[in-house]
Amino acid sequence: MIRLWIYILLAVLFFVFIGFWTRQAEKFLAEPILISGWALFASVAFLALFSVRKRLPFLSLAPASRWFMLHTIGGFLALSLFWLHMGSLWPKGLGDEIMAGLFYGVTVSGIIGLFLEKLYPHYLTRSGVECIYERIPNEIAEIRSMAEDVVLECARETGSDTLGQHYLETLHWFFQRPRFFVNHAFIGQSAQHWVRHQCQILERYLDEKERGYLKQIFALADYKRKVDFHYTAQSILKGWLLIHLPISIGVVALTFWHIVIVHVYYI
C-alpha cells in the first residue's frame, strides 16, 4: 500500500514538473508542445512495455504485480499528459481525432478492465465453485449428461414422463450451453430465478418420488448456473484485453506516425 502511494506521488510530481516546464517554455517562446509531447510518448512507451514484460517471465525485471501497479498509475498519468499536450479534451483535424479516439478507447477499456478485475474475482469466489475456463464446456456437458440420466431414471422408476417432458420443453434449453450471459455479466439473479421458477411450476404435478428426482435436477441446475457465471465472468475478464490490446497497438503505431509528421512538417 505504501508503495502504491509512493508511485502515485511520483506520477503527480512528474506531471507537475512537465506542467511547470511547459509553462516556462511558453513564457520564453519555446515549444511547450514538444515537451508535453515527448513526455506523453515516454509514458505511452512505458505502458506498452508491460505487455513485453509479461512475455519475459524468466527475467528478473521486477514482479508483474509492481508492473501492473505502475501500468495503472501510468495510464492515468498518460491521460493527464494527453490533456496537457492537446490543451483541450478533443483535438481538431481528422488525423488527430482518430488518434484521440483511439487514446480514449484504450483509456476507457483500461479503466473498465481495472474495474472488472476488482469486481468479478470477489463474486467468482462467492459462487462457491471453481472452474478452469477451458474445461467449462466439458463441465457443462457432464452436468447435462447427469441431468439426462436423472430424467431417464425418473421415467424408468416412476413410469411417469412428466419430468421428462418438462425437461425437454424447458430445462433442456438451460442445460444445453452457457445461458444468461448478459444477466450474469451484471451480477443479476435471473438465472437463479428462472431455475427456481421452472422447478416450482412442475412440483405440483409430481408425486413424492418424482419430487426427489426434481430435487436432483434443481441441484444440478443450480450448479450449472454457477458454472455459467464463471463462464461469463472469465470470458469478460479475458475478453476485455482483446479490445484493450489491439487499440493500444493502434495508439503506439499512430504515435510514431504523429511524431514523424510533426518533425517533418511542423518543426
Binding site: S65, Y120, L124, I132
Partner: protein, 560 residues
C-alpha cells in the same frame, strides 16, 4: 452383499523374492540367531518379520547403498562383503546422482525466449548416456554407483563397515534424513529391513532395542536436546541425565499417506477418532512431550466433535504448563487437551522428575514465566478463528513449507502464472491452477516442498531429493527412471509423470518394449531461475503466494 477378506499386515511383503529357505539361512546369521524367538507373539513371529519386512539386496563394488540427505524407511544389516561410510567431507551432489543447482546468468535466462521448444517436454536424450546408473543384479532396479571409488577413498574420510554391522536405523525410525552416504567397497549382500519390521525387532528383542536405543542416545539425542531452547542452559552432565531418562515413542503409521488417501472421504470427526492418541484430555501429565518428527494434533472436546487448537511439528513440545503448575503445588492438574498423531509422529517423553530437576529449578532461578502465555491464548480462540487451521490440519497442508496459495478475491483467472511456469519448464506447467479451497484461499496443485516429504521415500536412485542449501524438494531428471514411486506416494497428487520427446520432437520410447519413457515432473520453485518461483513473479494481481502454512495462522499472508 459384496465380501472382502480383511486386509492383513503382511498381505504385501517387502519383497516377493524372500523364500522360506532364505529365511532359514538368515536365522543362522549371528545377529539374528541371538534373538530370542520366543519373545515374539504368535501373530508376529520372527520368521514372519524376516520373510515379509526384510529383503536381501546384492550390491556390486561402488554401488551407493544410502545417500546423505535421503529419507529412507529401512535399516541395513551387512551379511557379507564390506561397505564404506563416507564421514567427511560428504560426497558431492553430482556423485550421489543429484542435481547441482546453479542460477542462470542474465543471458542464459534471456535465451529461454528463443530456445524454448513449442513441443513440450523436450529433452536432449544424449545427456542420459553418461548417467551413473546401473541395474542391480537381483531386483533389476537401477542404482546409482560411484565411478571412481579410489578417488573417493583418497579425498574423503571414510570408515569400513564389516559383516554384522547395522546402519540406517536411526533415520528409519526417526524419519530423519540420512546423515552420511554408504557405498559398497566390495561385492556385498545386505539385509534391508523396512521400518515396520525394525519396530517389531526393537519392541520384542531386548538386544536389538538396547543396541538401537544406545546408539540413538549416544549419537543423536544429546545433540537434539541441546539444540532445543528448553535445554540449552544445561551442561553435558545434566543433558546426559535428561537424555538417559527420556523415553522414545512412535505413533501412527510410517506410510501415513496411504491411510490419509483412504480417509480422504471421511468426515473430520471420524478421522480424529482414528488418530492414535499420544496424550488424552483429563489424564495426569507424566512428562514433557517433545516432537522429533512428524505432526501431532492438539484438540479439545467441543460439542459432539473435537476442535483443533493447534498442531505440533518437529521441535515443538507440550505439557510444560501442566507439569509446572503441578510442581508448584496446584492440585488435580490434568491435561486440558488431547494430543493425537497426524499420520506419523516420533515423540520423546521426558519424565516429570527429570523436567522438575533440570528445567523448572532453572526457571525458578531465572524467575521465568514467559512460557505461560504462549499456551494460554490457545483456549481463547473461537471456532471461526481456528477454522482455517482446522481445515489445513484436516487436509494435511500443514506439511507444506512452500504451499502455493492463491487469493481468489484477487485472482482474475488470467493464467499468467501457468504460462510463466510453462515458459520456464520445457513448455509444460508444473502445477494445476486448481485445488481445494477454503474461504477465499485456494491451495493449488503444486508441490508444497513438504517438511515430511513422503515422496522421497522409496526413490530407488535418489533422483528426488531435498536440496540441502535451499530446502526445496527437486527431481534430477538425469537419474529419474520413471518408476512413479514418488508420484504414487505424494498424498496431494502434486507429482506428474510426463512422456518425454527428443530434440526433434519425437516421442522417446524404450527399445525393449516400445513403451514411452516417462519422467517425474513437479514444481521445483524455479530453482536456477533468476526470478524465484515464476508463478509468483508473473502474477499481476499479487494473488499467488508461496507460504509455510504456519504463516497462515499469524496472518502474515493476509496482509501482503
Amino acid at each position: 452383499m459384496a465380501t472382502l477378506s480383511r486386509l492383513k499386515r503382511w498381505d504385501t511383503p517387502f519383497s516377493p523374492d524372500m523364500t522360506d529357505e532364505e529365511v532359514q539361512r538368515l536365522l543362522e546369521v549371528k545377529e539374528i540367531a541371538e534373538i530370542d524367538r520366543d519373545k515374539f507373539p504368535v501373530s508376529t513371529p520372527l520368521e514372519g518379520i524376516l520373510k515379509n519386512d526384510a529383503r536381501t539386496v546384492r550390491y556390486e563394488a561402488g554401488d551407493i547403498v544410502i545417500r546423505e540427505g535421503d529419507y529412507g524407511n529401512s535399516a541395513f544389516l551387512i551379511l557379507s562383503g564390506d561397505l564404506r561410510v563416507v564421514l567427511s567431507p560428504g560426497l558431492p551432489d553430482e556423485m550421489l546422482g543429484r542435481k547441482k543447482i546453479r542460477k542462470k546468468s542474465f543471458f542464459e535466462a534471456l535465451s529461454q525466449l528463443w530456445k524454448k521448444s513449442i513441443i513440450p517436454e523436450v529433452r536432449d536424450t544424449e545427456r542420459y548416456k553418461d548417467r551413473s546408473l546401473r541395474k542391480t543384479s537381483d531386483s533389476g532396479v537401477a542404482q546409482v554407483f560411484l565411478q571412481d571409488v579410489p578417488a573417493v577413498l583418497d579425498s574423503n574420510k571414510t570408515a569400513v563397515l564389516h559383516p554384522g554391522a547395522l546402519f540406517g536405523e536411526l533415520a528409519a525410525l526417526g524419519r530423519l534424513p540420512r546423515t552420511s552416504s554408504v557405498f559398497a567397497e566390495t561385492a556385498a549382500t545386505v539385509l534391508e529391513i523396512r521400518w515396520q519390521g525394525l519396530r517389531e525387532l526393537r519392541k520384542f528383542d531386548e538386544g536389538w532395542r538396547s543396541a538401537i536405543d544406545k546408539r540413538y542416545r549416544e549419537n543423536a539425542l544429546n545433540a537434539y536436546l541441546s539444540a532445543t531452547e528448553l535445554f540449552s542452559h544445561l551442561d553435558d552432565t545434566k543433558l546426559q541425565a535428561v537424555a538417559d531418562s527420556a523415553l522414545f515413542e512412535t505413533h501412527g503409521k510410517f506410510d501415513w499417506h496411504v491411510t490419509y488417501n483412504q480417509m480422504k472421504d471421511m468426515d473430520n470427526a471420524s478421522v480424529i477418532k482414528e488418530e492414535p492418541v499420544i496424550a488424552r484430555e483429563g489424564d495426569y501429565p507424566d512428562g514433557l512431550l517433545m516432537i522429533r518428527a512428524g505432526f501431532a494434533r492438539v484438540s479439545v472436546q467441543k460439542g459432539n466433535g473435537r476442535q483443533t487448537l493447534t498442531y505440533l511439528k518437529a521441535g515443538d513440545y507440550y505439557g510444560d504448563d501442566e507439569l509446572y503448575r503441578a510442581w508448584k503445588g496446584e492440585n488435580n492438574v490434568t491435561l486440558k487437551v488431547t494430543i493425537t498423531a497426524l499420520g506419523y509422529v516420533d515423540v520423546l517423553r521426558v519424565p516429570s522428575f527429570s523436567i522438575e530437576e533440570h528445567l523448572f529449578a532453572h526457571w525458578e532461578d531465572k524467575n521465568k514465566t514467559d512460557f505461560e502465555p504462549s499456551k494460554a491464548n490457545l483456549f481463547d480462540q473461537t471456532l471461526a478463528d481456528g477454522a482455517l487451521r482446522e481445515w489445513a490440519v484436516q487436509e494435511r497442508f500443514i506439511n507444506g513449507t512452500q504451499t502455493m496459495m492463491i487469493d481468489l478475491d484477487r485472482c482474475v483467472r488470467c493464467d499468467d502464472c501457468v504460462r510463466a511456469c510453462s515458459d520456464t519448464h520445457q513448455g509444460n506447467p508444473r502445477f494445476i491452477r486448481h485445488g481445494k479451497t477454503f474461504d477465499h484461499w485456494m491451495v493449488a496443485n503444486a508441490c508444497m516442498h513438504c517438511a515430511d516429504p513422503v515422496c522421497m521415500i522409496g526413490c530407488p536412485t535418489g533422483a528426488i531429493h531435498r536440496d540441502l542449501s535451499g530446502g526445496m524438494v527437486i527431481i534430477n531428471d538425469d537419474t529419474c527412471i520413471g518408476c512413479e514411486t514418488c508420484a504414487n506416494s505424494c498424498p496431494y497428487s502434486n507429482i506428474r509423470m510426463a512422456e518425454i520427446r527428443d530434440v526433434d520432437g519425437r516421442p522417446v520410447v524404450d527399445p525393449e518394449n516400445q513403451k514411452p519413457i516417462i519422467k517425474a515432473t513437479k514444481c521445483d520453485l524455479c530453482a536456477g531461475q533468476r526470478t524465484g518461483p515464476a508463478c509468483v513473479f508473473a502474477c499481476p494481481q499479487a494473488a499467488v503466494k508461496r507460504v509455510d502454512f504456519r504463516e497462515a495462522f499469524s496472518g502474515a499472508f493476509e496482509e501482503s
